[in-house]
Assembly symmetry: C2
Homo-oligomer: 472 residues x 2
């Protein structure tokens, strides 16, 4: 597939042709979501938000502007983000007395409010989310969806009576993300980030690194245990049952909506364009009447009947009766990644059948009218399952276990994700980065992997099996 | 009702107690939408977006940051907004080479892209919308929901081959807004704004001024015919069927989501709190079991059965089995504006009935089990209709027709919307503002009103019956 040969060209091309994003906006790192992209995005957001609603999370909406004082409260946090925030310093014709920043993430917007809301243990747990754009002044080359200065995400912030409850919340968060990624057919490594690469202010950070056709990894989600660090900085305390004042324990987790969209495009797309998992396809089925002069009216009427039957079943279906040729229509809907196409021609009409084509295999089959809906539903199920399997297989093929630095460099140069034994030191992580170009991304937490040889860099005793890759 | 005596206290109090908004955020004019407010907001947004989707509008998402060059392209537009934009001038540790502004509205973000997208008449009409926050540096006192520096709205921008098509679009926009406002039971005057008060860059502006309990008007929506003004400035041209290059004709319209929420709170709320139109109530029906020790288990089971029956009908229902007393629960759900409450006590259980209470009248009635769903549905319908009628009656009572300046001043001081005859001159509008404190808001376009006396200010020939009010 072209995407593995020249990802960059394929990706930019597909984003434009499939009406996902227009990257010609006048401000660098900011782009326009076009209608098809906006619709898929909306589906991804509701899929996630429905799961959050069902697990005791509350929607809220916090401001984009954060005061410099609040931003400065947690020392590690400001250190981690200060190089990449945008500052608002003027309004109208005047300079603001105090400048404010655009949220790069919302800890410092939310936690001063948490401090006001939390009084007693009865106010806990607090679980709040919002789906919003955040702003980071990326100095590396920006890439549409993958590395933007404005990007869409969903962020959850929670507060609990103690560390154990926060730990339970971390597991709950992982479960939610795993489930949404599963429904999207995405594959990734679930990694504990090394200590030197955790979120600024966190106790530890877990990340979901999805594969991308160019061998780089795409961090699509992160879950952080914040311990009491932010509680101390923002004075979020509660009175426990015995009347004592205690710090809350916190977690936060972020789901990269723009990056998930990038992963859906990159992992599932092919030479014909997008392939959308049925749950997030704005149109799941397109009905295309194939017109010949003599039978046009009748074919159109029959196609309409097919359309009505599919619509009644609750599937998202669209009829394409436009002026274009069938070939042009096929090309268009394949490019948009619509999972199932139903063709209705004079012969189908005569036989009381239709021709159904499935987007992954592009296989066509003839189906009698009464079996249209059951056939489509079976195809949609198997398509989701096939996407998942194909994506998982690609991740496997993209991963190379290597034992020495030369092989590691070859793997990274060859656009692989490398699996290495690592002693756990920052020095060796730096050596690895310098010599191979890849970064230590962490070790798996869903599977226990025991190192069976020495550290790839220093040859000393290995502490972990770690994954090394270039990253967006 | 308290809201008419001391709106400001009532409103702030209700926003807090009904968990709509917290106004204690550290940046002035920016506030936090709390869970109940966020959920109602989401319902309002989908109500509107569904109507836009059904009438050929496409969702998109444009950046919040606009380049100064693009902003400066349309002369009237920049003049109108320049005093109230926020500027981003720094990022990380450095000054930006070119500052950018936060969108106060998105013409200058969208139209440069329109110029790239529109090539021929086949690309038209173009109808694009987004629901986003916009930013205006208000120098007047800010008020939660009503006058914020960050507020939520939905904006639509369209481009057409000619002025006639744009005119048709203006009518379509009005129809959509009227329908959504009707479903929310809101009352307002639909006014043609005077020429000196139209949107910066527009040919004319139509606005929806909703009443507020303090007699000020709350502009909840606007529809603008932009003619070719922006097309010329942004060079949005197309090739017509004859091969000639022509300017597009444009419209734009804005639906103030935050302000609509303010109108729902202000027009329908009462001394007990919010009253939510059923279509946007996150919970439409709450089931409250009334426990007595001897029958607790049985009552709970019966209440659960009631809950299941209501849920099955498709209504949004919640069961409140919490620890609080029935009185506390009633108070809570009334404050949140839930339209219908179902009480289930030992006597209801014995008789196979329930007690249903409706939020506007607070009237209670006993209903047998089999009639619960039909009764609730009838109550919800009549509630929406009653809200609408009550709101319309309030608008009527709040409006005073006056014939001289002294009466006009008395009317405005007495928190009325005044109906006057006006010659149409800007000078007289200024006199009116100076002497009465109210502004000429425009003349009605849904009803033709002929002036029957001279201008209230200059006594000269009156051109219009105009509405005068203080405004948010």
């Amino acid at each position: 597939m072209r995407k593995f040969m020249d990802f960059s060209t394929w990706f930019d091309d597909t984003l434009v042709k499939a009406e996902i994003m227009d990257n010609r906006y006048a401000v660098k790192g900011f782009a326009v979501y076009k209608p098809w992209g906006a619709k898929v995005t909306r589906k991804v957001i509701s899929m996630l938000e429905d799961e959050l609603d069902a697990t005791g999370h509350d929607p809220m909406l916090f401001p984009v502007a954060i005061s410099e004082d609040d931003f400065a409260k947690e020392a590690e946090h400001i250190k981690g983000f200060t190089a990449e925030v945008f500052w608002i310093t003027e309004a109208g014709e005047r300079s603001l007395e105090r400048r404010m920043l655009l949220r790069p993430t919302s800890e410092s917007a939310m936690y001063p409010m948490f401090a006001q809301w939390v009084r007693s243990h009865a106010d806990l747990p607090l679980r709040v989310y919002q789906s919003v754009c955040v702003y980071r002044y990326e100095t590396k080359a920006t890439r549409p969806l993958l590395r933007m200065r404005e990007f869409l995400w969903n962020e959850v912030h929670t507060a609990h009576t103690d560390g154990d409850s926060a730990e339970v919340q971390v597991k709950e968060a992982i479960k939610i993300y795993v489930d949404v990624f599963r429904r999207l057919g995405l594959s990734y490594y679930m990694l504990m980030r090394p200590d030197f690469d955790k979120f600024a202010g966190a106790v530890y950070s877990i990340a979901f690194d999805a594969w991308n056709p160019d061998g780089r990894v795409n961090q699509i989600g992160t879950v952080h245990n914040l311990g009491e660090n932010f509680a101390k900085a923002f004075e979020i305390t509660y009175e426990d049952a015995d009347g004592a004042q205690k710090n809350v324990s916190q977690t936060c987790y972020g789901f990269g909506i723009s990056r998930v969209l990038a992963a859906v495009v990159g992992q599932h797309g092919d030479d014909h364009g997008l392939v959308l998992p049925p749950e997030v396809a704005p149109v799941q089925v397109v009905v295309v009447p194939i017109h010949y002069k003599e039978s046009e009216g009748k074919v159109e009427a029959y196609a309409k009947k097919v359309y009505e039957a599919v619509k009644k079943s609750g599937l998202r279906v669209q009829m394409d009766s436009g002026e274009k040729t069938p070939g042009e229509k096929f090309y268009h809907w394949e490019m948009l990644g619509v999972p199932v196409r139903v063709e209705v021609g004079p012969r189908d009409l005569k036989e009381g059948r239709v021709t159904i084509s499935e987007r992954v295999s592009l296989k066509r089959s003839s189906v009698e009218f009464d079996k249209i809906v059951t056939t489509i539903n079976a195809l949609l199920d198997s398509l989701t399952e096939n996407l998942r399997k194909r994506s998982q297989a690609a991740l496997g093929e993209m991963t190379a276990t290597v034992g020495d630095m030369a092989s590691l460099k070859r793997a990274i140069d060859g656009r692989k994700i490398a699996r290495v034994c690592w002693c756990g030191s920052k020095e060796c992580a730096e050596t690895i980065k310098d010599k191979s170009g890849g970064e230590i991304r962490g070790h798996r937490i869903d599977v226990e992997e025991k190192p069976e040889s020495g550290c790839v860099a220093c040859r000393g005793k290995a502490a972990k099996v770690a994954y090394v890759a270039k990253a967006y």
